[in-house]
Symmetry: C3
Subunit: 623 residues, 3 copies
């Protein structure tokens, strides 16, 4: 009944070549016969029923889909599990709920809301449904979310859709786990918010919750290339993937080889990218894909080989990387980081923020706010973890940066306050604490629940127009410093760090700093341009006493480090510039793993354009 000839042929070849294999469950693209026999397998979304053609068009909750998915998973895993090359399984592919909202999903959602709110009165109040006659008086009257314009309802539904992903992945993992050998692992290739490349936090997946189903975190990272390669997305994706399994390292399951024509790597870039992944904690770098397909959508999503299967510049560089890793890979595995800074994100805040953005015509989304904060830290060589509201232990971070925490529960706010009280440094942005976990705007002083810890408050805000900053070190006259949003802050206990430069709004604070307990809170009341962002976060890093590298190391020189599996310090010096650079080696005595050259602190080291130096020393401490 099942035809295993292709997979058997590949695994056999891999066995012979000594290449380990992760087998994926083939559930993310349904066959033609299934769509014909059970058209209900195609998801119904607010746009109507899906059509057959693209992948990931199915309803992951559908009983027929689950039946046939389970059948093929069981059979396939059984068939391949005893092959020695098979070290693990990938369940599904970049799983999401694909916006499914058909009758059964709606019914499941209503049931979930019954459990959550117990009574309709509680739900009507939490969501503000008295407005516009939207009150629900009987559960049977619950309208389809497809037409909803109430962000409390749509955000709750988005949360339910994220839960569907958790549930689906856990279900697949259970099936595979029943059958696989104990020493085989389960992983998934999570992906990021997509803007033509991996851009930020995925709205549709709760990464930390969904990753509970797997043994090893996996991630797909595609990033701009050529002159636009910065390494930021590699770091961001890595920081996120490490967080999925509590700091354990991860697999890069997909990243670009040649990729799109605008990504075709310059000589040296593929290698720089590979080591950048490892420097973030990846234990594997896998390319999408070996050779490029000859038909359909991904014809220009080019693998290591083009359709001609002939070696090309990119392939040859991959061979070089393979050779190097064969030699020095064991030194690089098991890299552990103890980062002092965390960037705090929240799917709930993201969905809620995106429902309102900065107004009806705004196109700015949560990730557009988060990225400039993250990127400024990256460019300053401040290594970070990505954490979310489920992260338990905040206390070991010297600094937490939480942009646009638009919707947060009382408990979440209390944890952040406690973090500061106990000595932590917190950077908060505008629109934080604004609404509760039901996306109901708080009726307390803004920033709701955080006003005390921030030491400042506001009840008005504006869209900046011809606004810049004033205050020690901030008076640039640049209107690009203040963009998209500005809150009219008035300090209560906080110090004003910067104010707005504007004929009318000049009396309001823009950046405040407040002592609270043993800690400190910096509040940024507006969306900062990149230069101001670097200044604000630079000060916060300094005041929080974050261990910092020599100031000479700024982007395009990126330094990442940690302790390897054997307890030795590993330092990656990565040059993202098109020019070679000579730098002073900033670490203790050690060796360049790639060249074998001895390194001492202060040595002149030549860093090739798009080049890498990997220093190893005996110490277990980061520099």
């Amino acid at each position: 009944m099942f035809d295993y000839s292709h997979i058997d042929r590949v695994i056999k070849a891999m066995n012979e070549a000594g290449i380990a294999v992760i087998v994926g469950t083939p559930t993310y693209a349904i066959p033609t016969w299934l769509a014909r026999e059970h058209p209900d397998v195609l998801a119904v979304t607010s746009a109507g029923p899906n059509r057959y053609g693209p992948r990931q068009n199915m309803d992951i909750t559908n009983a027929h889909f689950r039946f046939y998915a389970e059948r093929v998973i069981r059979n396939l895993v059984k068939h391949v599990k005893d092959q020695p090359a098979v070290i693990g399984f990938q369940i599904d592919n970049e799983t999401k709920s694909y916006h499914v909202s058909g009758a059964e999903v709606q019914s499941g959602f209503v049931d979930a809301m019954k459990k959550r709110f117990m009574s309709l009165d509680a739900l009507n109040l939490a969501w503000g449904l008295d407005y516009w006659s939207s009150r629900i008086n009987a559960w049977d009257d619950f309208p389809s979310v497809d037409g909803a314009v109430n962000a409390s309802m749509t955000s709750a539904f988005a949360e339910y859709q994220r839960w569907l992903v958790n549930d689906y992945l856990a279900w697949q993992a259970r099936i595979v786990r029943e059958i696989k050998r104990p020493n085989q692992f389960i992983t998934q290739n999570f992906d990021l918010d997509w803007r033509g490349y991996s851009y930020g936090i995925q709205t549709e997946v709760d990464h930390f919750a969904a990753a509970k189903a797997v043994d090893v975190a996996g991630i797909d990272i595609y990033h701009p290339g050529q002159d636009h390669l910065t390494g930021t997305e590699i770091a961001l994706g890595g920081d996120l993937a490490r967080g999925m399994k509590g700091g354990k390292n991860y697999l890069v399951i997909e990243t670009q080889a040649q990729g799109f024509p605008e990504w075709t790597p310059y000589p040296g870039q593929l290698r720089l990218q590979a080591y950048s992944h490892l420097a973030s904690g990846a234990e594997m770098v896998e390319y999408w894909h070996w050779a490029t397909t000859n038909n359909s959508v991904e014809t220009y999503w080019r693998g290591l080989l083009s359709q001609d299967y002939a070696p090309n510049a990119t392939f040859r560089e991959a061979v070089q990387i393979g050779g190097e890793l064969k030699r020095i890979g064991p030194e690089l595995l098991g890299l552990q980081k103890k980062n002092e800074v965390a960037v705090y994100f929240s799917n709930r805040a993201q969905t809620a923020f995106n429902a309102f953005k900065f107004g009806w015509t705004s196109t700015v989304l949560y990730n557009d706010v988060l990225r400039p904060f993250y990127d400024a830290l990256y460019r300053a060589n401040v290594e970070t973890d990505l954490i979310d509201p489920s992260t338990k232990d905040l206390a070991h971070y010297k600094l937490i940066v939480a942009p646009a925490l638009y919707a947060a529960s009382d408990a979440e706010i209390a944890a952040l306050k406690e973090y500061v009280r106990a000595g932590g440094h917190l950077v908060l942005s505008f629109k934080s604490g604004f609404s509760d976990e039901n996306v109901k705007v708080r009726s307390t002083s803004q920033p709701g629940g955080l006003a005390e810890v921030v030491g400042a408050t506001y009840s008005q805000f504006a869209i900046p127009e011809k606004v810049s900053l004033k205050g020690e070190g901030f008076a640039s006259g640049r209107t690009e410093d203040v963009r998209w949003w500005m809150e009219l802050l008035e300090p209560t206990t906080a110090t004003v760090v910067a104010s707005y430069e504007h004929p009318v709004w000049g009396k309001y604070a823009a950046v405040t700093r407040n002592r609270y307990g043993k800690g400190e809170v910096t509040y940024v009341g507006f969306m900062a341009g990149d230069k101001v962002m670097a200044k604000i976060l630079g000060r916060a890093v300094e005041r929080a006493g974050v261990t910092q590298l020599n100031g000479a190391f700024k982007y395009p020189l990126i330094v990442r480090g940690g302790v390897n599996g054997q307890g030795r310090g590993i330092h990656y010096l990565l040059n993202y510039s098109a020019e070679s650079r000579e730098v002073q080696y900033p670490f203790g005595a050690g060796m360049d793993l790639l060249t074998g050259r001895q390194l001492k602190k202060g040595n002149r080291v030549e860093l090739a354009a798009w080049g890498v130096v990997i220093g190893e020393d005996g110490a277990a401490d980061k520099p």
Copy 2:
């Protein structure tokens, strides 16, 4: 069965606070149970059936909707009418037909066309349906308007949809009128064409016809704020609202308090806005809304209070305004104007113009043509009435400005000609008289039916490219003077005021002036940029002998006036600038109502930034 607890609580509080209440009928947003029990209540439009979620998604013609709407209206009005605070009722909210086009509406439309045309031959001819085989040979063959591409048909349907609004409001008014106390009035909050703010004439409502149903005109006006506040929309909305009930004053039922973040008023602006409304003839200024909702769509449509219910700068300014009005309000009520200039608009011309615009890729709509004409008069401090084809007495205007009168009946054209013949001054623009009331292009010389009175004709036109003007006072070389459209005019009896500056089109007239009977017609053959518009209309105002203020008063100084209910002259001096200004008081002896200071003609008066001076004198004449 009905739960009145909320409304009882509010009215009780208002009674106690001595605040009068207008109770609205709650029919513009249907409840969940109604959508579930009678899904046909949701309107069917050319985009398919509406979904539950937004407000104003219902079919206002639907029998189930009407049944339940009548029930709630009757019960509510009965319940509250005897409360002393209740002075009137608002029927529905910003009512439109919401593009309803389902089977019953289609059937009603066909019936209306039977009555209008009597025979299909007449209809086929009027609409030109022989073209593209669209001839209708039997009433049963009448196709749904949803797919129509014939502007005669779609315009007739738009007119029918506007009639649905008249019919629906009259129906609500009849119900309320049956029950309310005799001394309670009925009003409606009509709104304007929306471009993120109130922009121009509402395409979907025939304001003057629809307002027949109410006792007192009401209007919702939202306008740009901060550096973009000009007062133009306040004046435009006011001029329209006065026209609704034949020059009687009106209620501003909604306007912004804090509004959107980009509107958050600068200090002084809320007060300037309030007096601007009164200066246009408003008898009330009501804010949307008291405090801001915590959930859903209008979370950022901010009322006097934010969600924290705490006083803020805007609220405090509203308190100040309230105090002033308590003191001087009685002097301001009953303001009567006798404007010498009218701007003539037409829903029929609007719908027809918008069907063609300036070509298939053009995005310019009727209001984009009308506004520059209106705005130039506003900036020149020429007070205007807005009139439409239903306006009977044109003769008392010294000047009528009628832009883009694209579709007009013979009778309408005859009335305008008669107005001129008897001594009126008329400014017409390009594309006027072009088609008849069925949007059939006239086969007579263009401007169709108006060619004689215009004294010029054309049969060709072009899109201006690198065209400016020539002629006494018009030769600027600015290509922005001539935009969007240009008719190649040839005078018959008219004088050429300006011609096109262009290598090929230079021989054609651009602006002509013609004596006709005792009057005069200025024809503007192209869309004028703001500077040229000011020049053309300035000359027309002068030649028509319109009473004008001292030339020193130009925008940003706006002067409005009239005679108050006690027969005394009231003059508003409004400063829309961010700078204070000293001006010479231009009126006779009187008093500044706000400060009590005596004023004499020629006195130096300091006008604060966004400031107001209200002068009152004993004379009943406008200055």
Copy 3:
């Protein structure tokens, strides 16, 4: 049953006026009663069922449509055929399949694929359906193409839809041919890809195949006007129309009179346009339309007369043209060209190219690539034929230019190679030969199948950013020289003509030239800006030994010529400039047909702005 009153009236008038008539079959717009009686007549497309309203909304394959279409065709042709004025019939109007994709079309498509591939294994392999689980295991599982994302499938379907047009036109032609008089011809008004005007090759029609149904080629050409009139579209449409019937001349069935407002002709332009059509081989120039409709969509698609039916500048120029043609027309008929250069296009390449463009966000289509190649030849006064893969005899061309031949069969490639081997000069662009006739990317070296004849190869490409050219005559530093796409070419046997100027890509070739057999191939690896294009094609024209005019004749002076029906040479000198020009007459002794003036080689001839000189000499050779 049929009412012929209108058509009888018109034909009678034409008979009396001595004007010949081509009667069109009225099948491109269905009547209201047909849509009501047989709603299935309205085509179902991937957007759902069409609505009644626009024309060309019907399913040309539908049995009910065919029944009533045949009935009206038979009756109409029978009724008019014996009128002496009727010289021919036009079948339908600008026929396309209108994207029909309903169940019956889908079923026909599957049947066609059965015949083409014989087995599903062959189809699955050719289309790469194993990818994304899209394999079809049973013909009954064949999914609707509406949802397809596989370009092999969508391109095959597009080809099937083009076949539907051939089939439909052939069906109409058979019916008309049964009835018409033998001396009456059949034609069709084919149109071009539409970008607000006639822009390029029609994706939806296989012009050469579809034209088999007709006796005389016809074409509709609308083009930019006023300052934007270049004559390019007139030449392009003419070159295509001549190709439809193997070099036989054609009818311009529609072109603009006044047209859109942005086209209203400058004085002289209508005449220049008319002679430009004749210079390309047109035997008739017919305007759309006589007078302008008073209602509906084409109110601003203005004919010779406006709605006032009064003479205007454009009409008067048409009268002048008519007078001239009455006098000299017989000299101009039967113009035969023997062009040495052909531009090679392919509907298959076009559909496939457009499926991928230059990436997912690219908006560049096949015609955007083809036009700059065509236009450069036009501006250089190189007369061309348009040929496609069905063209048999390539050998008589000195130069063939084949841009973006994205999908081509082995046979097609072999024919091009054979052309070069035998001595032809071939210019190929990037992305040629890339995929086979099933849009399967070739696994051979790129350019697939052409690598040998090109003498260069590549397996990588990029999107140019800050790239210019280097190499003898190419080093301009202009980044606009290299746009949209660049292949990283490495020569095998070819000479490098130009390379990329770029820090990284500088080692790759951009333009190569290769001897192959007795011929030569120029390969252009990137999309050239207009200046570079002129240089590359200029060299190719020179190297191919194409007969060239005096270098002084470049656009805006356009020279076209040929041998008329009486064997005499005819030379059109067309001035597309707004300025008069004096030129040296470049041909032998002859006469200006328009003025009767004798002309000698080297004479100074004054060419008016938008002016025409038609020289006739006794020689049968082109200059």
